[in-house]
């Protein structure tokens, strides 16, 4: 059980290099944050892992299984799940239906056509438990579109966790969430299952320093430095980068 391993990952669009020799280990239970300025290649990196983009070179393995040959949905089945930078949900369906959809795909019954979708009793209990865990129970029959943005983010997280992933990539989980609600997101991240490997791509430093146990700083598609939150906080290069100081070399 070695978790997610990335070795020498490269990607460029024409002359623009967006990922350059990236190495990363994400063992079960890790809470790693990926930070960096706009355009550093954070979302590109997430897209390379989830299969939306194909890398130019490098290896991606999950517990020894090579992920490169798998497409997006096959990688989800293998255990890599993500939330989007901009909430992507089934907006016209209810919260419960959103979770049910993820669950029925996980259980491989997305093509069953005769039984009612809500007639799997155990599955419904599981959805109830998940809704309760994310404090979404009161709004389970509301349309997602009618929820506040912070709650939609929670729905997205709850739904993604229904997939029972081994590796979870959170792409800017707090983006667009009003600060009054951001504790909801932090609480939810802190309550994630202990053995899950989590990669958080985030701009909000308060959130990063609260939940991450290790931090990777990405600049121009390459890893600038990585270490514990304390190391990063003390790193002069990173401070320059974030405080707008002039960087050298």
């Amino acid at each position: 059980m070695s978790g997610l391993k990335v070795r020498g990952l490269e990607k460029s669009f024409g002359g623009l290099t967006v990922a350059q020799d990236i190495h990363l280990d994400l063992p079960p239970g890790s809470r790693t944050a990926l930070i960096g300025p706009n355009g550093a290649g954070k979302t590109t990196f997430s897209n390379l892992i989830t299969g939306i983009l194909t890398p130019g070179a490098g290896e991606i393995t999950l517990d020894g299984q090579d992920l490169r040959a798998l497409n997006e949905s096959q990688r989800v089945k293998a255990g890599v799940a993500k939330t989007f930078q901009i909430t992507t949900l089934f907006r016209d369906l209810t919260v419960r239906q959103n979770l049910r959809l993820a669950q029925q795909e996980r259980d491989g019954r997305g093509r069953a056509w005769f039984r009612r979708a809500d007639s799997w009793a155990e599955a419904e209990d599981e959805i109830d438990a998940q809704l309760a865990a994310f404090r979404l129970k009161d709004m389970s029959d509301k349309r997602v579109d009618d929820l506040a943005y912070g709650q939609q983010r929670l729905v997205e997280m709850a739904m993604t966790l229904m997939l029972k992933p081994r590796v979870l990539i959170l792409d800017e989980p707090a983006a667009g969430v009003p600060s009054s609600d951001s504790h909801l997101i932090t609480d939810a991240i802190e309550a994630l299952p202990e053995d899950l490997a989590v990669l958080i791509i985030e701009h909000d430093m308060k959130l990063v320093f609260r939940v991450a146990r290790s931090i990777i700083v990405l600049v121009n598609g390459a890893i600038l430095t990585q270490g514990t939150p304390d190391d990063i906080a003390a790193n002069q290069q990173v401070r320059d980068l974030y405080l707008g100081g002039r960087h050298h070399g």
Binding site: A81, L93, R100, Q104, G110, W113, R116, A117, E124
Partner: protein
């Protein structure tokens, strides 16, 4: 663990009464039978059109596949059933199976290419498929009869019991039973995991991929199912009119089916029924009253629905209650 008893909301029920919708449908069909005994041929045409629009609803309303070429599968089903009746047997039910298979096979093969496209490209390609079918049927005179139409279809009694009569009584009930059975099956499908996943594809293909659903294959499946149903509709038309003309592939047919669906409301099965019945009735009455300007009335109706009831006429009761209660 306080409230463990959850009563699942039964969607698809009207006013919470089981099978009320179905009962109303049967009552209406019976009433029409006795009220308009000399218009049975027209009523039968409405029923067949309902089936075509239902197939479009599955493809476009549920799965969100934009198409203006549903006639391709309808026409292929019609020719397949017609040729089957001419060359193999005039028994109606095997003919329906042949029509369904023909529609499904065409939808599957064309779907393998079409479902890789989206939006305008997809619409153009669906139109192209129907045009190609039209041209093939036109050129293959020896098989299809070309522009003269496919003649010589002689139908045997349904199940060997019910002879097709001159007034069209048998045809009416035969078509109704087939449409009703397909409707019930579609209703099961709509509330099942597959129905939910089709709605998911409609709402957000990106999210469907992100929860591990094979988006492309699911789209091809939806398109194939819709094609099979359109094939049944075409087969019914061929059997009942005992003639297949090139018109079955016409762009008009696809477009009118789409207008009927929008009129009634996409993504709901009753919408497909309501829209078709209203469109065809208005067409029938208005065209008889004013053969030159009847299209104006249809246009006005569509405009009204699009502006005031964007979710279609099936949404009218909800919209009215909301209006009476005041906006929420």
């Amino acid at each position: 663990m306080t409230d463990t008893t959850i009563t699942p909301k039964r969607t698809g029920r009207i006013a919470g009464i089981p099978f009320l919708g179905e009962a109303i449908l049967i009552a209406l069909v019976l009433a029409a039978y006795f009220l308009f005994p000399y218009n049975l041929a027209f009523l039968t045409r409405i029923l067949i059109m309902v089936l075509l629009v239902l197939s479009l609803d599955l493809v476009l309303g549920f799965a969100g596949i934009a198409t203006l070429g549903q006639a391709a599968m309808y026409g292929t089903g019609a020719y397949a059933a017609g040729l089957f009746a001419v060359h193999v047997t005039g028994a109606p039910l095997p003919g329906l199976v042949v029509g369904a298979l023909a529609g499904a096979v065409l939808a599957f093969i064309s779907g393998l290419v079409l479902m890789r496209a989206r939006g305008l490209t997809l619409i153009m390609l669906t139109i192209a498929v129907a045009s190609i079918c039209h041209e093939i049927a036109n050129k293959a005179r020896d098989v299809t009869g070309g522009a003269d139409g496919l003649r010589g279809i002689r139908m045997e009694p349904v199940l060997g019991l019910f002879e097709f009569d001159f007034i069209g009584k048998t045809a009416y009930w035969y078509v109704f039973v087939v449409v009703f059975v397909v409707f019930l099956l579609l209703k099961r499908l709509a509330n099942a995991p597959l129905g939910l996943s089709l709605k998911g594809l409609h709402e957000s293909p990106e999210r469907m991929a992100a929860i591990g659903a094979p988006v492309y294959r699911r789209l091809v499946l939806a398109y194939t199912l819709g094609g099979g149903i359109a094939g049944v509709a075409g087969a019914l038309a061929a059997q009942v009119t005992q003639l297949v003309s090139l018109e079955v592939y016409s762009f008009n047919l696809s477009a009118e089916a789409l207008i009927m669906l929008i009129l009634g409301g996409t993504g709901r099965l009753y919408g497909a029924i309501i829209g078709t019945v209203i469109f065809m009735t208005v067409h029938h009455v208005a065209a008889a009253a004013d053969p030159f300007n009847w299209l104006f009335l249809i246009g006005l109706m569509v405009l009204g629905v699009v502006f005031f009831l964007p979710k279609g006429l099936a949404h009218l009761p909800t919209a009215l209650t909301r209006l009476v209660r005041g906006r929420t």
